[in-house]
Assembly symmetry: C2
Homo-oligomer: 360 residues x 2
């Protein structure tokens, strides 16, 4: 087992990474004591891993309750959150109850937000079962639900007690979701570590074939970079925004098509292509970099051409993005490769990028 | 103008207390800069004070949006919260937008929770217009909405940037609500300061007649005591629970009758009578204390006899109270007068208290 430490003072915690962690009672040792735990999961993950997590948690909690939600981004809503609160209150769960998020990014975000709000805050543990959640969404304490008018608009910064990445759970992940997770892995290269980008290029075949050692390294290095950034800027007042590389364009794609049509990672993959093009047009990177990144994203099985939503729709969705300030869109751009800057760009230039990167 | 400082490190803030503060642009100086503000209020308070607050805020914000909610505890729901998010997103409000809660405890709690969640946190200012909100709910950062299965079950600890208590707004308060506010004023005596209880007894007539000097002192001293307690225990891991004197029984009354039938302060007033009786039966205070407190609560215009919900219903509602642990009810009891303890009590004893204190 490997560990990555997230250093956030009294909110510090560890990410545990390894194959088969789910089944070891040890994995859950030294968490806050409580009479009850609640596992939140979804209908896809439950048949695969729920019974095993329940069995393993029973060594620590007298009662292990379950709340299983429908699968998908479309269910990252208040209604799902309400199902969790109904279960907690229906089982008379007190404010020491520990929540466990067993699933991908949606389950993690919604469970984290439920934990942040239930009785004004109960402890929770992330047990991500998708590559995307293991390398990104389960780490760093961003929790949220979607609002009909925007993604992740209602949420909290709320840190888990622990993140447990059981690499064996990636074996049941559909190939499309593996690729979506690779988008967030690839992201860490351009914004922070070009040597890691080299490594990803060299091992992309192994990663797509789920070679355990390759996956272990990808998860570990991604978490290390995220831990470093989050440790410096927990609440995204500055630096942390670089983790949103590809996400401004990506969110517009998700919002424009309707959440859930493209996977989040697919939208981020295509969004990184757009952000690279914008960086290039602003003179921040050269054409070779854009081409190299685009190739890698394509080879990872991700879309590199955006849907034709129309420039106005893209701009509208990006203006209501959380990162926008007084209607000015804030883009995460690469300058130079291996580091990122956050800045605005003229609408006309963004329109050119969209024209170059979208389906006619 | 008087000020009380809440000392919470980087989350510190001031409570400003005085008559006519609402109309002075100075009152809002040195708040976080933003392009827009949103005033959340209710249909009762809006006709009285909204235009004045809007005018006074326009010196600081280019846009001052408004979201007015129906009045009452019954509307402290997710649906109301959703109206605030709809307005914020509909007006493309970014994450620097400052929220202002203009109204009583319900408006303050819901606005604070909206501020805690919108884009994972925006600044907010409490502008309490009821005595209860000025002396209690607007101070200390507890925010929440109700769940059909329990009061304040979904919320956050989230501190305002400032609390502005305009004493002149108390002139339009219905007498029933003035009395409800006095319940929380009286509370501070038994738990923290018997000299203050003496003062309240001596000035109860002035308070009920809304003598400005008496109200100013009552608000100031209440805020000082609350500030002291909250400064020592922001997240209610221990000491802060003493502020819930009367609230365990009180919440059961509110939940049992349906939220909004009794005012929160009325339930707390009657709850303090019950908690005094329980303290007495446990040998923590003498009969004279119980009698003295009961008299004062009665003279303040508050109920001292509980509704006949049946012992089982009371116990059930108290078991799902947030302060309960693994089904054990935690009572705030007086021992000795001027200080409080938090502990359990045998069901049989609680049943005796309920029988003595409830309508046959």
């Amino acid at each position: 087992m490997n560990q990555v430490h997230i250093n956030l003072g009294e909110r510090s915690y560890d990410i545990r990474i390894g194959a088969g962690l789910l089944d070891h009672a040890d994995t859950w040792a030294q968490l806050p004591k409580a009479a009850a735990a609640l596992i939140v999961t979804n209908h896809t993950v439950a048949p695969l891993y729920l019974a095993r997590l329940q069995a393993s948690l029973q060594a620590h909690y007298a009662k292990v309750h379950v709340c299983s939600l429908p699968d998908g981004e479309a269910y990252k809503t208040w209604e799902s959150l309400q199902l969790i609160f109904d279960e907690l209150l229906g089982q008379a769960c007190d404010r020491k109850t520990v929540l466990f998020a067993l699933g991908g990014g949606v389950v993690g975000d919604i469970t984290g937000f439920a934990a942040a709000c239930y009785m004004r805050g109960v402890p929770f543990v992330q047990v991500p079962t998708t590559l995307l959640a293991q390398v990104d969404s389960s780490v760093g304490g961003k929790t949220a639900i979607n609002h009909p008018m925007g993604k992740n608009m209602v949420g909290a910064f709320y840190q888990p007690e622990r993140v447990v990445c059981d690499l064996a759970t990636l074996n049941t992940l559909p190939q499309r979701e593996l690729s979506a997770g690779l988008a967030e892995v690839i992201k860490y290269g351009p914004i922070a570590d070009m040597a890691f980008l080299d490594w990803i290029e060299q091992h992309l075949g192994d990663l797509l074939a789920r070679d355990p050692q390759a996956l272990a390294h990808a998860v570990q290095r991604s978490c290390e970079i995220k831990a470093h950034v989050v440790g410096l800027d927990e609440r995204e007042s500055g630096l942390r925004a670089i983790l949103n590389f590809g996400h401004t364009f990506g969110h517009a794609i998700e919002a424009g098509l309707g959440f859930g049509v493209w996977l989040h990672g697919e939208a981020v993959g295509c969004g990184m292509v757009m952000a690279a093009h914008l960086s290039q047009r602003l003179g921040l990177v050269d054409a070779a970099f854009t081409e190299r990144l685009t190739d890698l994203i394509h080879q990872a099985g991700l879309p590199i051409v955006g849907p034709d939503l129309g420039t106005e729709a893209y701009l509208h969705h990006m203006r209501v993005d959380k990162k926008a300030e007084a209607g000015d869109i804030r883009f995460v751009l690469i300058h130079p490769p291996g580091s990122a800057v956050v800045r605005g760009a003229p609408d006309a230039l963004v329109a050119e990028v969209l024209q170059a990167c979208c389906q006619a």
